[in-house]
């Protein structure tokens, strides 16, 4: 077993500052993940040359891959830092340097923290909610076959980590693509018996520039999703529904 872990971290002190790389060597303990490694650096913020530096800024919260905070590029791959175990990242001889960098498609805040609020804005555009009448006691909801629940639940497991957007070649400023997560949420609410009342509005929001047509079927999203959401299936289903809606709207003019 190695006694230390070598790690290289891409850092940037603010959005306007130049990016730099700092190297660290951190004491190894079995069972370590990337967030505990970053915690070790905070305990002793000194780089490999012995130079004092600052703790790394990164987003994290639950540390069990359910809050979606700690997405970053780990050895170049978009991953959740909490469930990235050090032992699986240092190669066969456990001596390779781990590299950490911020997600590349979102504005940098500092170091490994980026601004992913675009996803939450997109969720507003597709009205990702059930428009209930009120929060009073209005009785039970409609019955729902377990088969419907089995379709909805996996989509509802989306943790908004934005990894599907990071890995998508179409997600960039030129296309303005909303990304897979938003499309999957639109499907989730279209499947809900009460949520379906906004179905047409959601489909129209996904039509046109930046909408579902931007998808290039690279399928990176479904492979990278840490929660295994059926993203390509959702995109294909919604693509069909958006098309049908467009045809309907055309003839309804």
């Amino acid at each position: 077993m190695p006694s230390t872990i070598k790690v290289e971290i891409k850092r940037q002190s603010n959005p306007d500052a130049p990016a730099t790389t700092e190297k660290f060597e951190v004491p190894y303990r079995s069972g370590m993940n990337i967030t505990s490694l970053l915690g070790e650096i905070a305990l002793n913020p000194v780089d490999v040359s012995g130079r004092a530096t600052t703790p790394i800024t990164y987003d994290s919260n639950c540390l069990e891959e359910i809050c979606g905070s700690c997405a970053m590029l780990i050895n170049g791959k978009a991953s959740m830092a909490c469930s990235a175990l050090v032992d699986k990242l240092t190669g066969p001889n456990k001596d390779q340097t781990i590299t950490l960098a911020p997600l590349s498609k979102f504005p940098i805040v500092r170091d490994l923290a980026v601004d992913r609020s675009v996803l939450f804005e997109n969720l507003k555009k597709v009205k990702a909610w059930v428009p209930i009448d009120g929060s009073y006691d209005l009785g039970a909801g409609p019955k729902q076959a377990p088969q419907i629940q089995e379709k909805r639940y996996p989509l509802s497991n989306c943790i908004s980590c934005t990894i599907c957007m990071e890995v998508c070649p179409q997600f960039n400023d030129a296309t303005g693509f909303v990304g897979a997560a938003t499309i999957a949420q639109a499907k989730l609410f279209n499947l809900d018996p009460s949520g379906a009342v906004l179905k047409e509005e959601r489909l129209r929001a996904l039509a046109g520039d930046g909408g579902i047509q931007e998808c290039g079927f690279a399928q990176n999203c479904v492979q990278a999703c840490p929660k295994q959401l059926p993203l390509t299936e959702a995109i294909s289903d919604m693509g069909r529904d958006v098309f049908i809606q467009q045809v309907k709207d055309l003839f309804a003019r």
């Binding site: 002190s13 603010n14 303990r29 370590m32 993940n33 967030t35 505990s36 915690g39 305990l43 913020p45 600052t54 703790p55 800024t57 990164y58 987003d59 994290s60 919260n61 639950c62 540390l63 069990e64 891959e65 359910i66 809050c67 979606g68 905070s69 909490c82 469930s83 805040v109 500092r110 170091d111 923290a113 609020s117 939450f120 969720l123 507003k124 009205k127 990702a128 909610w129 059930v130 428009p131 209930i132 009120g134 929060s135 006691d137 209005l138 039970a140 909801g141 019955k143 076959a145 377990p146 629940q149 909805r152 639940y153 509802s156 497991n157 908004s160 609410f189 809900d192 009460s194 949520g195």
Partner: protein, 590 residues
């Protein structure tokens, strides 16, 4: 008073979002503050489900039985009236969540399915796989997003609450908060505030809690004059995965679906767990508690595991671990636990569908919290609290799947109450205390940034966590509690010598953390001193030197006030107006 009340909600977990929904619905204006984007709040970590006596399994369950189970499970320390109200509202809250589109598991007919949980004999827990908290939080988050899109809610995500702004009469007129990117500290006006900032697991270093669960906001308010109640009651969950950076929860639903806890009968048994035959396994919970079996309340299960490991010396391979086994369950039942089984597989590497999981108790839930009246108001006028941040409902021990319910209930009470208060609030005199409070907070910031000390705040935190875990979790001795308090006093002293390695004014997370740390240390003293003074055993609070519950002396709420830089304690009678306290015996067979 302005026509439209302006309410600040601090914390965007279930309780906070529930309050926001009620206020927005009633026409109030809400500013919602959260350290993290609200969709990433700690409520997502709740796994097993939410209780409500819907009685959809033909068992004759009813809201009174839920009420009684909760009071009995909490060892009679909870005030009974709010618990009665909460359990009565349970079924309507489940219906509402269902209407919001929560993907609850269903029966073949399409009705809500219910599972069993600890401390009850009924199927009372509605669930969405094993990620119920995530699903509930998302449902409320979606409703709040809808109100946000309509302009009724303004979110301040990435802002941290620092303190309440109090006027000359001591009433709340707003808050001070810090932007965690620009590090700007400023004040925000409000007619009332609702604090829904969750538990304080970080005080114990490693816990099942999320990073933001520091108790900092509650502690800041306690230092401003709010009572902190029943601080000594900390729930240690029986089944967590020991980890490097945190203890990851293995939901009680694993046992609710039929999971069993055991150790090999022979402590030198070297066989792989799955090859040890039934006859060579010791199912100690089932043996000691034949009626409830693996579904005894958490404090009982935790002490049993602790006893097996440390008194019987029967931990697996001599380590502080026992087996939690779901490998015998049918694929259908395992499927209902998918979310948590994946967590185990990802973080440990073994497949729990085939191999028994290795678990040990871990700090999990804060039963204590800000003292509130039955309308969720603290003793500071205009400051309300709800959810894990307040002390009501759970008494000396929380029953599994009651926390999600209590969060929504608390938010649903606090929201309208804060609105009513705001409507009758007289106009503030002068600036309502804003300038003075802002100056106080900026002074603290400057002190920290210019300190020339040598102490690393993360090291102080680690030492705090170690001493709290050692002396103030499962087993408590007065000598140890005294030692812990002395240690915290030492840490507070060393804090004054803290050195921030990062003094920049942009997204400085260690600066924000160091501010929280001061509040954690202050609240740590409330916990250990409260425990020191309670010479009895009740619920999660267990002292071997005082093994029995003592109603005569201690059927009382502990209230801590911050006086002369230290906690000062008083005790308040508990509301027992509905159910007469009786001995709590889960080992009884009848």
């Amino acid at each position: 008073m302005a026509a439209t009340p302006r309410i600040i909600v601090v914390g965007g977990g279930l309780a906070g979002l529930a309050a926001v929904i009620k206020i927005a619905e009633a026409g109030g204006k809400v500013d919602l503050f959260s350290i993290v984007p609200v969709k990433r709040s700690h409520s997502v970590c709740a796994q097993g489900g939410i209780n409500a006596a819907k009685n959809l399994k033909g068992e004759g369950d009813d809201v009174f039985k839920h009420f009684d189970d909760t009071i009995y499970g909490g060892d009679f320390l909870a005030n009974q009236t709010p618990v009665k109200n909460m359990t009565a509202q349970g079924p309507a809250i489940i219906d509402l969540l269902d209407r919001m589109g929560v993907p609850f598991n269903r029966t073949p007919e399409g009705l809500l399915d219910f599972r069993r949980f600890g401390g009850t004999l009924y199927h009372r827990t509605a669930f969405a796989g094993a990620t119920t908290g995530q699903q509930l939080l998302y449902a409320l988050d979606e409703q709040v997003r809808r109100y946000e899109a309509e302009g009724k809610v303004t979110k301040y995500e990435g802002w941290e609450f620092l303190s309440a702004v109090l006027d000359t009469k001591g009433a709340c007129r707003g808050i001070t908060a810090m932007d965690l990117r620009t590090m700007e500290t400023r004040t925000f006006p409000a007619d009332a505030i609702i604090v829904c900032t969750g538990g304080n697991g970080a005080i114990f270093g490693k816990s099942t809690n999320s990073v933001v669960c520091t108790g900092s906001a509650q502690s800041a308010l306690y230092q401003q004059g709010a009572y902190y109640a029943n601080g000594e009651f900390i729930q240690v969950h029986p089944t967590a995965i020991p980890g490097e950076d945190k203890l990851r929860l293995m939901s009680e639903s694993a046992r609710g679906e039929g999971g069993r806890v055991w150790v090999p009968k022979d402590k030198n048994d070297k066989r792989a767990a799955q090859s040890i035959p039934e006859s060579d396994r010791w199912y100690f919970l089932e043996e000691w508690y034949p009626k409830y079996g693996n579904l005894v309340p958490r404090d009982v299960a935790t002490r049993a595991i602790f006893k097996v490991v440390y008194e019987h010396d029967m931990g697996i391979d001599g380590q502080p671990m026992v087996y939690l086994d779901v490998s015998h369950l049918s694929p259908e039942r395992q499927h209902k636990l998918e979310g948590i089984l994946e967590i185990y597989e990802k973080f440990v590497g073994d497949d729990p569908r085939k191999v028994p999981m290795k678990i040990f108790p871990g700090m999990h839930y804060t039963m204590g919290g800000l003292w509130v009246d039955f309308n969720q108001q603290t003793n500071i006028p205009g400051v309300y609290a709800a959810g894990e941040a307040d002390y009501s409902i759970h008494g000396a021990n929380r029953l599994g799947a009651n926390s999600l319910l209590s969060c929504i209930y608390g938010g649903f009470v606090a929201g309208p109450q804060a609105m009513a208060y705001a409507r009758s609030l007289p106009a503030q005199e002068g600036d309502g205390g804003h300038a003075a409070e802002l100056a106080r907070q900026k002074e603290f910031n400057n002190l920290l940034l210019n300190n020339k000390g040598t102490e690393n705040p993360f090291k102080i935190w680690r030492e705090l966590g170690d001493t709290m875990t050692k002396h103030a979790t499962i087993i408590r001795y007065n000598a140890g509690l005294d030692e812990a308090d002395a240690k915290i006093v030492e840490l507070l002293d060393r804090y004054r010598n803290v050195n921030l390695s990062d003094k920049s004014q942009w997204a400085n997370t260690s600066f924000a953390f160091t501010r929280q740390l001061w509040n954690m240390l202050q609240l740590g003293r409330v916990i250990v001193q409260g425990a020191r003074l309670r010479d009895e055993s009740r619920g999660a609070h267990y002292k071997p030197d005082f093994p029995d519950r003592n109603d005569e002396k201690f059927l009382k709420t502990t209230k801590a006030a911050f006086r002369d830089d230290a906690p000062a304690f008083e005790w308040e009678e508990v509301d027992i107006s509905h159910i007469q306290p009786r001995p709590r015996r889960y080992d009884a067979t009848a």
